[in-house]
Structures are given as structure tokens and as C-alpha cells.
């Protein structure tokens, strides 16, 4: 009898230990980011933002700590898909943040969808990434909106009648954004006089730019990522092309200016965010903390990654559970949540957000205007 008592006490102790252990067991969130490769700047800026927001907002939900598991997808579709499987199968994450670019999300999304694990792309603007998917989300606007605004800006504000487009054929984002720009520009009555392509990692674009020069456009649209934009801008100026250059959100990286130098001076682009548009409490706090920690101007990619994290944290809290399906439903019903880049509402997997127009001036991204959806 006495022995039984001892056994039962030990058993209860063990059980309670087990329970406290499971209480303290961290909730794992997978990060599938472009830490290396062609768009390493986005992944690294995103990771900076995520580390910072964990310092600002206590990384804890439902009484359990939140832990990141980082996997580098090397800016590669296959690696992005593998990273997703690894995070889900081996690391048992409840949700994933990233990839940052659309092409990688088109590879990663279907896998998350299959396993029914929510995945949020901070800056994946291509409309196809969330189309027909229940578990794929984005924390940013979509390219048809961005392309339309850019075309309107070119036609109405810059008074351009002829445009040339040079886009990256390897990237779903770039090709699609170029198409959306063209559609709207021609609908407004303009004409796209030259459409040429490059490939991610290309260094020499002189041939395409010489063709553009012959077509004599009023404006040049580069819907690409920062490295390719910077190189193309330099070579365009070297070849004597003086037309204004327009770009999309891909231009937002310090590399644009460090590589592009004087050639990107005056370049205008549609962007997710500018520090001047920070309206929320957490946004202002983030700005101050970012400058203090990294000693440079904050960027949209870090802010959007932080947004994704806040959306996820809020969803887990409202779901009251770490069941991925319940988290998914909670993300979909996000309404007017105060995140870094402003209030956000999610509809059909897409975030409804405004667009900022910026211009490079004296090596800085200068705020031009903001357009609401």
C-alpha cells in the first residue's frame, strides 16, 4: 500500500513535470528566406526585421515562447520547395514566413498547401501565389495594382506616350509586372515600343538597351530586382539613354544605390512603404529601434517580414490553439490589425495595402506620394 502511494506520487510528479514541459515547449515558426543568391538582400533584410520585432514584441503566445527556425532557400525554386518540406516534416513548424519573392513562393506554396500549414509571403506580389490556395497568404499588395499605378504615373504624371520594358524572364514577378504595366499603359492610350528580356544574374544588358535606344521611348520600365535594375540603369546611362527610369518594389534595397551610383539618381519606383508613412504605434517604435540597432534607414522588406510575424502572432492568439487549420482561419479573418507598415486587413489571402511612390535623390529613397487601393 505504502509502495503504491510512493508510486502514485512519483507518477503524479512525473506527469506534472511533463505538463509544465509541454507548456514551456516553444511554438516553432519556420523562416524560408533568401539568405544567399540573387535576392539575398531581401531575405537578409527580412531576417533583420524579424529579429528586431522579436525584441520589441515579447515572443510569446498562449503562454509559450515563439521560436524561429531559419532555412536559407538560396533564391532558388527547388531549394525553396525543399526548405518548406524540411520545415514541415523535420522541424514540425506550425506556420512559415517567407519566401520573400514570388517565384520561390510559387514553388513553396503548393507544398504548404498540401500539408495544410499556413505560409505568409512578406513581399510576394505576384497574384498567382495565393490564387486557389487556402493556406498561402501575403502581407503586401499585388502586382496588377502596382503595375497599374506605375503605368498611370508614367502616362499622366510623366506624360510619357511611348514606353520600353526590360524584364527578367527568369522571374515570375518581373515578367508579370511588366505585363500588367503594359496592359494599363496601352489601355490609357500609350504604346509599348520595345519589350526585351534579361535573365537573373546577367551582367551585360547593352544589347537590349541598344535596342531600346533605337525605339526612342519616353520612359523605361525595369520591373526587376535591385541588382539587375542597378546594372541596367548604369549601362543605359553609359549608352546615352537619358529617359526617366521606373521600377517596382524590387528596387528597394541599399544595393540599388551602392551598385547603381549616379545612374539610379532620379529613378522612381512603386514601393510598399516609406518611413514617412509610418502611422501605427508599433511602426514608429520599429523605426526608432531599427535605426538604433542597425544604424541605417529602415526598408520595406524588414517591415513586411515583421508584419507577417505580427499577423501570425495575432492569429495564433485569436485561434487559441497551435492547430495550423485554426491558425489559417484566424489569419484569413485578420481585420484592421495594427502592424509596422499600417493597419492591415486580409482578404482571400491577400493583404489590402496602399502603394508608396518614391524617388532616388542624393543616394536616398525620397518619398513622393501615397496611393490608396
Amino acid at each position: 500500500m505504502k509502495r503504491l502511494l510512493i508510486y502514485s506520487i512519483v507518477l503524479t510528479l512525473l506527469l506534472s513535470l511533463g505538463i509544465t514541459a509541454s507548456c514551456a515547449e516553444p511554438i516553432k515558426i519556420g523562416l524560408n528566406l533568401e539568405m544567399t543568391g540573387g535576392t539575398a538582400a531581401y531575405g537578409q533584410m527580412g531576417y533583420e526585421g524579424l529579429q528586431l520585432i522579436q525584441e520589441l514584441v515579447k515572443p510569446e503566445v498562449l503562454g509559450r515562447p515563439v521560436q524561429f527556425v531559419l532555412v536559407d532557400n538560396k533564391t532558388d525554386r527547388v531549394e525553396a520547395a525543399n526548405a518548406t518540406s524540411r520545415l514541415i516534416e523535420k522541424e514540425h513548424v506550425v506556420a512559415i514566413i517567407g519566401p520573400m519573392i514570388s517565384g520561390n513562393m510559387l514553388a513553396a506554396g503548393p507544398i504548404a498547401e498540401k500539408y495544410q500549414i499556413p505560409i505568409i509571403g512578406p513581399s510576394t506580389t505576384n497574384p498567382l501565389t495565393t490564387q486557389g490556395k487556402k493556406f498561402v497568404f501575403r502581407a503586401c499588395f499585388i502586382d496588377p495594382f502596382q503595375g497599374t499605378i506605375a503605368a498611370k504615373f508614367a502616362y499622366e504624371t510623366l506624360r510619357a506616350k511611348k514606353a520600353a520594358i526590360l524584364s527578367d524572364i527568369n522571374q515570375d514577378y518581373c515578367v508579370a509586372l511588366g505585363k500588367f504595366f503594359k496592359q494599363e499603359f496601352e489601355r490609357l492610350g500609350g504604346k509599348v515600343v520595345s519589350e526585351t528580356y534579361l535573365k537573373t544574374g546577367d551582367q551585360d544588358m547593352t544589347a537590349q538597351l541598344t535596342a531600346i535606344k533605337r525605339a526612342r521611348p519616353d520612359v523605361i520600365y525595369f520591373p526587376n530586382y535591385y541588382t539587375e535594375i542597378a546594372i541596367a540603369a548604369r549601362q543605359a546611362r553609359d549608352l546615352g539613354l537619358t529617359q526617366p527610369i521606373l521600377s517596382g518594389d524590387g528596387a528597394d534595397a541599399p544595393e540599388l544605390i551602392s551598385i547603381g551610383g549616379k545612374a539610379v539618381e532620379g529613378l522612381m519606383h512603386t514601393a510598399f512603404w516609406h518611413e514617412k508613412t509610418a502611422v501605427t504605434e508599433i511602426g514608429k517604435k520599429y523605426l526608432r529601434a531599427y535605426k538604433a540597432k542597425y544604424g541605417k534607414a529602415p526598408n520595406a522588406f524588414g517591415a513586411l517580414a515583421a508584419d507577417s510575424y505580427l499577423i501570425l502572432l495575432d492569429a495564433i492568439k485569436r485561434a487559441g490553439s497551435t492547430d495550423p487549420k485554426k491558425i489559417r482561419d484566424a489569419i484569413e479573418s485578420t481585420k484592421n490589425l495594427q502592424v509596422v507598415t499600417g493597419p492591415v486587413t486580409i482578404k482571400n489571402g491577400d493583404a489590402i495595402k496602399s502603394i508608396v511612390l518614391r524617388r532616388v535623390k542624393n543616394g536616398q529613397f525620397e518619398f513622393l506620394t501615397v496611393v490608396n487601393p
Partner: protein, 297 residues
Amino acid sequence: MDIQSFIQQLLNGISLGSLYALIAIGYTMVYGILRLINFAHGDVFMLGTYFAFYLVMIFMLPWWLSATLAIALSAIVGMLIDRVAYRPLRSAPRISALITAVGVSFFLENAGIVVLGARPKGFPRPEFMSHTYNLGGAYITGVSIWVPVISVILLLVLFYVIYRTKIGMAMRAVATDMETTRLMGVDLDRVISYTFAIGSALAAAGGIMWACKYPQINPLMGIFPGWKAFTAAVVGGIGNILGATIGGLVIGIIEIMIVAFFPALSGYKDAFVFVILIIFLLVKPTGILGETLKEKV
């Protein structure tokens, strides 16, 4: 296409092609002597640009001095790669050395990502390289003039070394018959070491000029130029220095002209280059000059 655009495109092609030529020579020299495709060559090209970048940015050295030092450092790296990775495998089957070469290449690329950082850096271009000249409507930057000029000077120095110096004679001898040369008492390892040094120095020179032309450097920047230069070496006749030069120019001009005449295909221009490689391997594996010259250095 009007004549003005054509001249512009031709200039673009020659300036790209002469860079391929410089890198291709390194491939061809090592192949001529060791029958080894040194896949790490493109990564030595990358290291050369980083050496120059850090010498200019951190040590604030004048431009010509950092370029010279970077080339010297790359030559040492080339010799080191041979000493550590290839020399122990000298008597192993050729395929082992080939796989090792691929391994060295991956090692340099990934070590580069860890040590140098994955994000691209802007390369400081000296003023004389970035000045733009307007030749009757065709624009040409200083770098497009200097690249072919410097390439020709480097080639002349190379030919002098190979045909007028003792070490050059030894290289030619090793390329013709390695065993016999060894029996004659020539220090084989030393000759091979010098070959790697010269090849790597040319790769670094090419890399620095490449970075002046396309002022963006990253740890993976050597991969594509490396492949294209390899194609150039094969097209010209691998093992033949003059062939590599011609091959480089041919590949550079073809690459540019494909975009010039078929702008809609511009995203696939690399594919065309590699189609040319395949056609040459199928139809004329010895390349343009492969058979006419017997001597292979």
C-alpha cells in the same frame, strides 16, 4: 538595323568577348598541360575582384597598385589550389582530378558566401574607365576601349613568356610530352605551379576589368563567365591560346548579336551560347584552331 546601332552592338560584343578571351586562356593553359578542366578558374576570377575591392576600399590603396596586388594574390591562390587539391591527385585517374576541380569550385563559392557575404557589392570604378565617348552616335565607355587594349598587352606578355623564356619552354615541353620532359630532369610540379599562377593572374585581370565594366561583385559572379569562357576555350580549340582568344571574341559577339537581331529572344541568350558549345562538341570537338597547331600550351 541601322549602321549606327550595328556598330554600337559590335563594340559591345568585342568588349565582352575580350573579357571571355582572358578567362578562356586560363582554362586552355591548364588543360594543355594537365588535360584538366580547372572548374575553379571562374572562382579565382571572382576572388581577384574581391581582392581588388578590399584593397581599394579598406586599405585605400591607389587603383593601379590594388589591381596589381590583387592579380599577384590571385596567382598565389591559383598555385595554392594546385598544391592542395590537384598535386596529390597527379597520378590518379583524370576523372578524380575533374571531380576535385568541381569540389574546389563549390568550396570557393560557398566559403565566399560565408566570408564575403552573399549580398552584392558595388565595385569602385576608376574615372578613366567610366568616361563615356560619343563616336558619331555610338556610345562607348572608357572601359570598353581599355579592356581590349589591356587584353592585347597581357596577351603579348603571355606570348613572350611562353616563347621567349625558359619556364615558357618548359611549359611547352610538358604540354607536348609530360613523361619525357620529366625524364629530362625538368621539375614538373614547378612548371605546373607556374602555369596555375599565370592562368589565375589572367583570370584576376579579367575579373577586375569585368568588375569595372559590370560594377557589381558577389561570390557567385564567377560561375557564368566561367562557363562562357570554357565554351570559348572549346570553340577555339581547347589547349590552344590563340584559339581561346578567337573563341572568346566569337562567343562575346554572338551573344550580343543574338539579342541585337532577335530582341524577343534576349532572355535566352545564354542558351544559344551553350547550344554553340554542344554543336562544336558534336561536329568539331577540336574547335576552330584545334588541329592546325600541334603545340598545346
